[in-house]
Symmetry: D2
Subunit: 490 residues, 4 copies
């Protein structure tokens, strides 16, 4: 059922998109303001909508859900005063699996459920790969779904659990779901965090005075001035109260962790820490590795802004070729302008980017980008660079070819739309019309993120399904819908 | 859980308020536009919010729910284009039982449920007197409620029914609820209407070209140019399809009907037909009856606008005293103005009404009003009339003293706030400070609505609980909360 | 220059429309709130836009102008807090001469001018018949106009006046304009009111505690609880200060007054006093006169709501035929609904009005309306009445045939669109398709407003140009544009 | 007179702010869309409001003015359809001289004037230093001002000019104003551009198919795909028609040009060309010059984003110290968040910036910023860097100390608020609490912008009043208000 909400769609449609960011806090006065700040810092993980739930002993649970940016929705006294309490969780999202249509407010997390033993709210980052099957079963037994979000399954599983406490019921429910999930949940007094057994999506713990914080990334701790304690472990459930602090559970059968390697390449903010190292440094290292793997003679290393910048700096350092900002990003980008006439071509990209013509003219330019998905933007950028008088254009990509869709919480086009799923590297070079095109190798990427021996094919440390086609969790729902996993031959 | 929505509160707080109006149509192109028009004609039955659900084979079910007037929400192409289809239902509401707090969009009907055997939407006018108990039981068995509306119980009961068709399940569900309900519901192809066994709330059937309509009142048929067929019978469920027309079921044990007598007095629009007679004529008859029961020498019969007008006309005709509009209503009334200083008293009432001073001066005035609830407005009107120089003020009320709350879908104050529950007629006269005060008798009211012998105490034809304290359905939830029914002594 | 503002157009397009209401106050705390209330009471004189100017010694002059209703714009603390001070004026308008296009905020009064000797704000009700010529001259001498409103001429004339005080300059300016004007203006400390020498438009003086009020009608005094002092005299300018009270000037050559007779018929609110009598009473008297002039056998006297009601009551009283509300007005009327399909005819009128079918059926009905302009609404109403089963339909109109446009502040269609300018009474009857059609005579109207001998053709007491074609002020601008005055022959 | 408009204030209050950008086009279909795009590219020159005027033969002049971003106001069909025509001009502004209060729509340019010989619209970038005196004189002669913008003076001067054509009158008017102005204006068929005799503010000419463009910077040509022709000369007035192309006038007495040197440092976009060189390259050259003038041993060159980046890249290249993005900017910055509790310090800056802690820790960091105005942001950034564990912090500023206010169209704090007006370099270093602080010298800056011999004190090529206190045009109005120019001694 489509309940439409008007929303200016995010402008970048040629990138993979992280689908969610989560944040929770307990033990601080005015929890909602902290949640709003944390979600603002996580806005890059989801720009379509955001929601906050809080609880206070007098008023009970409170909720506000809105389409659009955190800065536009959760900054007025009018809204924030409706969210009192010392415990709260929040969520920003791009869109959830099963709902690629127009944005609907019903699908905005956190979700709230009133159970016989009390209320609980829940939000998650990731994707449940068996949600469709679970939902079908639940509906057959009389559950009424209000959204098309996979997260709502968890609420209904909790409602049917015989567990005596809400935390017991949450454990019960999470043991029935499959896929990638970094959950932040709350009851009246408990803040709960949980990562799936493989730890595909990030989740970190922080301390703020007498309070505790859960967040998708450390940058959300920084914005509120909180101290970074540690990452929640893969397969760990933490139950945090203001009084008793952190209690750690391990509800799942232990498995080797498989963190998403694309968080390093693109999703996470450069100032966040993952595994003790800043994402910025990792990206710079990727750039250096790429310079070693795929050197080329040129006059200028130019990032495709903004995400390509750290890798370009690394490439420049390693190669000794000067770094320069040949492409300037318009920082006021927003809605779609009306196209005046056919006199204007490439308008979309011009609204966001402009070439620094004087810098580019007559030069051999290395363009460093983080990834190539459909390739449409890459072609337009190449044209702009050539129009500006570049002598040569060389693309260097800070990730291996993206040839497989992600089923773990990232919005990926169908395989037919993925350039690398349908062309060889040379075909892609011709398609893009550039002098050279090179992707970092998967081994190179592993080295750059700290695996000195590269990728161990027998037991890779990361989830790299989008590059390798090796899915650490079988995407059950998608297979029901006809998706074919990679066979040995591929 | 409070998810607040900003909403200008309805201005009249000293009247009983009907809580809902319903409308449904099947077999016409662009069903949503008809629903919007029908709801607009029923706006007097609920000004707080409105919702429409439609279905079309290509896009499935569509829904839009908004706070505020139909004319402000369901008139733009932008909204109406999201509601395609040849079948649709809609609802306007004031507020639903169990939710007297700030308006929340989650509580706006129609409600939609996706069942294993397909989707259905439902809206109702009335109140389920056992909803609290049902909800408690359903939650214990794992249902998740998204609203505090009693209507949602019906959806969950349907979800748990073993009925093979949606209509079977609806019958199943409605057999488990108690109270007053005039339901309009829809599946992909069927429009369903149902009145509770006592037929407390109205529901009528109409024909529009090749299509069929269900509506709370006939005025909603008039606005779309439809022909009035008949009232849905108390205890009847009609299942209407474009192809097969009307199919009639009687799911409940037969009982003698008890239509709400206050629909005649105040709730329904004067141009609607009830029982073959226009509400306007009934009200005029009430005025005539009142003139016979409680005559008084005076110079002017003046209605309290707008609802007192027909009774005042009847009173004037019968008494021979001239009718005149001594109180003028401001037709642009809306939000609350900022009160400038203490210089202004009685501002609230002045914003809505002004006295026609030249007409009133020196006269003995009979004020005819439909009812007295708290008495606050009556006092202010009396003051305005005296300030304007009236020599005498006589109140004549077109209904008996309102001494008991309604539990069948009308918003009534607590008994402590009901003037007539706490004072005798003479005490009320002194409290209001008027020269005389008379209410029509219950027998007189019955005569005016067509019962020539007045009320039969052994088996009254109407629900008159608000006057008599005799509740035709025991208000189970309210009794759980401590409400005491009238004892024999009272 | 068109600077468009979105605005829901007033719904009634088959009436003459008063173009403005004015209100001013001095000597009260929080003047703006009083102005807002007063304008709200005058909303019937202009629904398109409203504006308020205030002055306080600390912040200087303040202004807010908005499209739409007073109740929607001047009720929030947010807006009202920007309008501090103990003196203020305001204006509601429909539209001003010279600007029949889309509503523009630049044309919303009051207008403000900063002169070498201080600032002043001005608003007026009426129309300057030489504004086009004045504007042309002023532009040639270097004035820059910001609006297409005739009022702005007064500001520019003041700017060029050599008068030593602002009041002197205003006198200077007003002596140069022609036409109908009831001006309310203010300087830092003075509230000024002025009526044109003929006193065509109304303006009254009131007292509120220590403060003074100027308003278009007495109903705007009532809403703030002010006492009615007297009407401003035709040709009088009153200068009011909190300290010194009222000072009276007579800047113009004295002439016999010619108050607009249509204010009695339609424009003014029924609860306002004009010439010591309530407009309601006058309209009832018109109805009685009409019953005497044009009797007919019938079963029901039915007003066309709402403006026809008092005349219908008078007609019923005089004729002895019962009065009944055969047409019910929807009080939630607003924007335009989307027309569903061709299945619906006469939608526009159905949104506003519904026939009380049960009351009308089989009856001979007298419909009493205030005026016939284009006749489009009258035809639709007649059809609805016949559809409802009336046996006969007789129109009785409470004003003479409207055959001439008004140039004194009323929005009239071109002569070609005025039914009575193009048809005889019998032709109109045939066109409307009714059993009989009668207008009150001009003499009868004069009698009803209190001239016992009817109209004195040599020196009529009222401006009745819309009926008689006799214009008391030559419409200079319109004649420049080709309008031909009535010749002796007509 | 304050007519308030709600507006989220720009977030950066510790920078000098360019006050305006202008754009005009003639000879293209759908001119308004080009203007909107051009203004979007110039949004960095003014974020508070924007306006567009167009002309088409059928509808005349059209105007739309809005508070807020171009992308939010001039992208809907609804608005753009009200702006038809093949000629148009537009303006973005921060705020205009004389109006530092709340934003008011009346002050938003372009301004339109209707003259006896036709209409014209005008917008300008800059500031008229004798506007106050001119306005006083004009009011005394009867002009009515509608805004507090200096631009309106030009309209009134045109209205009083005896010139036979609009262009003659514009020349007349511009000869009477003093200060800095880059004007874009239009009549029904002519697009006019004009720079003041010193050419303080930029203005460029472009060609787009059969059309012509005027814009503040070349980046606005790039966004619409136009070709850059040349800069409008200081003191030149170009009159452009679709048919006849460019006609060049020189209305002023010739003077040596004095372009604003701060346009190079901060105001202009890095991808714009000034004097044939990209602003990016100039800024990189400033960074190199600064590295030569003020070297220091360190581990990392880190820009203060975003404006410090090119200079930091230049500094890194010249010094050989690695460049790294130690400070990350949140790209979703917007409104002000509610501060939760006193637990959070430095919130404002944290909302915009976060330190890349892992990169900074233990390092000696060189922070390169474009300027220091109040120094408040610099202090906060220093604290964040030290909190992150930097060993040393060295500030290098890409402009000389800003010690004097600008009167030529830039919003500068009073001298008391300018850090450099009140402290020596060493005092500033102590105040900021950093290990070293160095500004580029004025000579160094001149070298970097291409003057190989540095600044010629006898006849400097640029306006550098903000650094030197030498004002090329005496700020007459400000001197009337008590501003004291630098004396020889200073």
């Amino acid at each position: 059922m489509a309940e439409q909400v008007h929303y200016a769609h995010p402008f970048d449609d040629d990138k993979l998109r992280e689908e969610c960011g989560v944040f929770g806090v307990v033990g601080v006065a005015d929890a909602a303001s902290f949640v709003a700040l944390g979600l603002h810092a996580l806005q890059h993980r989801g720009q379509e909508a955001g929601g906050i739930v809080t609880y206070d002993p007098e008023g009970g649970f409170h909720q506000a859900r809105r389409m659009g940016y955190v800065r536009d929705n959760f900054t007025s006294r009018e809204v924030m005063d409706t969210l009192p309490g010392a415990i709260g969780i929040g969520h920003v999202r791009y869109s959830t699996s099963g709902d690629k249509g127009p944005a609907v407010i019903r699908n905005v997390q956190p979700f709230f459920g009133e159970f016989a033993i009390g209320g609980a709210a829940i939000a998650h980052n990731g994707n449940l790969t068996n949600a469709v099957a679970l939902k079908r079963e639940l509906i057959e037994r009389g559950s009424i779904f209000q959204s098309s979000s996979d997260t709502e399954c968890i609420i209904h599983l909790m409602a049917r659990s015989m567990g005596r406490t809400l935390v017991d019921r949450m454990e019960d429910a999470l043991r029935k779901v499959e896929g990638a999930f970094s959950v932040v949940a709350m009851t009246r007094s408990k803040l709960v965090g949980c990562r799936d057994p493989l730890g595909i999506r990030p989740l970190v713990l922080g301390r703020l005075g007498s309070g505790w914080i859960l967040a998708s990334e450390t940058c959300a701790l920084d914005i509120v001035g909180a101290e970074f304690l540690r990452e929640v472990e893969p397969g760990e459930m933490v139950v945090v109260t203001a009084e008793a602090g952190i209690e750690s559970h391990f509800p799942f059968r232990p498995r080797k962790s498989r963190f998403c390697i694309f968080e390093h390449v693109y999703f996470s903010r450069p100032d966040s820490l993952i595994g003790g190292r800043s994402v910025y440094e990792t990206r710079e290292a990727i750039g250096r590795e790429l310079a070693r793997e795929a050197p080329v003679e040129a006059d200028l290393v130019c990032p495709v802004p903004d995400s390509g910048t750290p890798a370009a700096i690394g490439f420049a350092h390693e190669s000794g070729i000067p770094f320069g900002m040949g492409i300037i990003r318009n920082q006021y980008m927003g809605r779609t302008f009306i196209e005046p006439t056919e006199q204007i071509r490439n308008m979309g990209v011009r609204l966001k980017l402009n070439v620094n013509r004087a810098l580019i003219r007559g030069k051999r330019v290395i363009l460093v980008d983080d990834s190539v998905v459909r390739g449409t933007t890459s072609r337009k950028i190449k044209e702009m660079i050539l129009d500006a008088g570049a002598r040569e254009v060389h693309f260097r990509i800070a990730s291996p070819p993206t040839a497989w869709p992600c089923f773990y919480g990232v919005d990926t086009p169908n395989r037919e739309k993925l350039l690398a799923a349908n062309m060889s590297e040379e075909e892609m070079r011709l398609h893009l019309g550039v002098d050279s095109l090179r992707f970092i190798t998967l081994d190179g990427l592993y080295r750059a993120v700290g695996e000195v021996n590269g990728r161990n094919p027998a037991s890779p440390r990361y989830c790299d399904a989008c590059f390798s086609g090796e899915y650490p969790v079988a995407p059950a729902d998608m297979m029901d819908q006809g998706f074919e996993m990679k066979t040995a031959a591929e």
